[in-house]
């Protein structure tokens, strides 16, 4: 590995001069700087990240917290797409992306300790249990943090607009004439709470009655539980005309149940999903759903994190709301 020392020798200057020339400091002669840069390029020089980090306490490395309780983390297209986008934007900004875990080396360490150990310049908390004390500790530390889909005091967070998304869906259903809408929601998270609230609220605004038994609980990304909920809904005497699923993938479980019962979508029953994953628009009929703009969410998360890293004083914590987009699909029938 060629170091600054090698360059300094070849150029007949001191290491300090090389450093400054390469970093574009002003107190180096035009020609000297040019020459040094040329030689550096020729010799295939690249700075030693460790040395630089040791001295500057900046690593150009951001951590992503991706704790996948029950393996569903990365498997879920929402999160993998998010990660992809975070990664892309980080790269654009000149940052590397490292996963943060709670065990490195032989020793267990908290997320915060891990971040400090690696001297991450900042962290995106993409998918984690926000009640985990270890996560809270990290959020409250001095390390710049951006959270996704969860708000913490004084921290920037990027939020997929779930309220709007569910509202759009329900309004769309209402426009199509639906008045008997069932809602299957995922496990209890802040996202779920917002969706449920938005569902009730929108229904109320539209004067749509929501019997308790129209609201069922299931798990995200789990077709089986949504299938069960579907069965319960179908067993009702006042069957809903439309079932809203927790997410596109879970809908597959409901789809199977509907198939078994010989119910056609959308002729016999209408359905909606959430997420707008690739699959949802491949299905026949295409699923009526809301595409969450993972590209923007990831981009904003990384961009704002980098901004707050490079400009700590100017940084203000804010909540950035990213709207999704209603994909009408063909899984909802117009009721006249």
């Amino acid at each position: 590995m060629v170091s600054m020392k090698d360059i300094s020798i070849k150029c007949g200057v001191s290491v300090a001069t090389v450093s400054k020339a390469l970093n574009g400091q002003s107190d180096i002669g035009k020609q000297t700087a040019f020459h040094i840069r040329k030689v550096a390029k020729e010799m295939g020089y690249f700075p030693n990240a460790a040395a630089r980090a040791l001295k500057t306490n900046r690593t150009n490395n951001i951590g992503v917290l991706f704790v996948d309780k029950m393996q569903s983390g990365l498997m879920h297209e929402y999160f993998s797409s998010l990660l992809n986008s975070i990664k892309a934007e980080a790269e654009r900004g000149g940052y590397d992306v490292t996963f943060i875990s709670s065990n490195i080396g032989q020793s267990k360490m908290s997320y915060l300790e891990h971040c400090r150990y690696r001297a991450c310049d900042g962290v995106v908390i993409a998918c984690a249990d926000f009640n985990d004390p270890s996560v809270v500790e990290l959020v409250q530390s001095e390390i710049p943090v951006v959270t996704i889909d969860h708000v913490f005091n004084d921290k920037t967070s990027i939020l997929s607009n779930n309220v709007r998304g569910v509202k759009d869906l329900v309004e769309f259903l209402a426009e199509q004439g639906h008045r008997k809408i069932a809602f299957i929601h995922g496990e209890d998270t802040s996202v779920t709470q917002k969706r449920i609230a938005s569902f009730y609220r929108t229904c109320q605004e539209l004067g749509i009655a929501v019997p308790d038994h129209y609201v069922k609980s299931a798990l995200y990304h789990d077709p089986a539980s949504s299938g069960e909920a579907t069965k319960e809904l179908l067993a009702l005497t006042d069957r809903p005309t439309c079932i809203m699923y927790p997410d596109d993938f879970s809908f597959m479980g409901g789809r199977n149940v509907l198939d078994e019962r010989g119910l056609k979508i959308p002729e016999d029953i209408s359905v909606t999903g959430y997420d707008g994953i690739f699959l949802s628009q491949i299905l026949q009929p295409a699923l009526t759903t809301v595409r969450q703009d993972t590209i923007s969410i990831g981009r904003e998360a990384a961009a704002r994190l980098i901004e707050s890293i490079e400009n700590p004083k100017a940084a203000v914590a804010e909540q950035v709301m990213i709207d999704g987009q209603l994909l009408p699909g063909n899984s909802v029938k117009r009721i006249t």
Copy 2:
């Protein structure tokens, strides 16, 4: 941040002693070492990764090369699952995982340069264009490398047993009485080549004739192209009784075409997929497919990489073949 210096002061010993005690060197008194370790823990000491890396040239960090041409990389469950497994095993071994890209900071750099810059102890090449000169350069460098699903000279590679997988599928089809088997394959990669070869070979062994027009080309993870191929196959006068799809997800494209034509699976036509993604077993009927053992592949990749990092001399390049598992599903009809 508490450093060794702080500990040394508190303990009244030199920094060297602290270092040795913490690293379990033998030339430190039992009690001294114990005491130092105790104080270190109390003070919440964690080594500075940069300083350590600078000195030892070891980072406990492995890179993963994940180049997703056409964004399909991480979205593909095969790869996201792989990544997940690599990450898990790396963590177990005390390593962090960082994405390797070709641009960091303002400057473009090759993958190799990136690895050197970050001083990655090793790299898993999980998903990349193996013809890319930049990738080849990395593979041929001094950095320990493990490749997945592609063999390079003198480098360890972990291979999903595609030959066996396709063989199992075809044999299964033959057992069910199929003699007219169409095969839609993905774009040209070494994996594809193996699958095609295995398909022809197995058919030959079983005395199954394969007309040229039974073999179609499509793209992985692309339902549309598989849908097109399906149409072509259905237009044939001597229709196949079974269509093998490039992967489970692509099958969804074929499924739509079959649906449109009113063809029931498996009554009217049999189908198989490949990968064994979550979705494949949710579908009704469950897809006959081969589950690629991504858990093992990722685990082996990480484990062998770490082994060759920590034990460079003992390391021997080898090809590790990981068998998949046939999932019979219900998408193949028994023909009598």
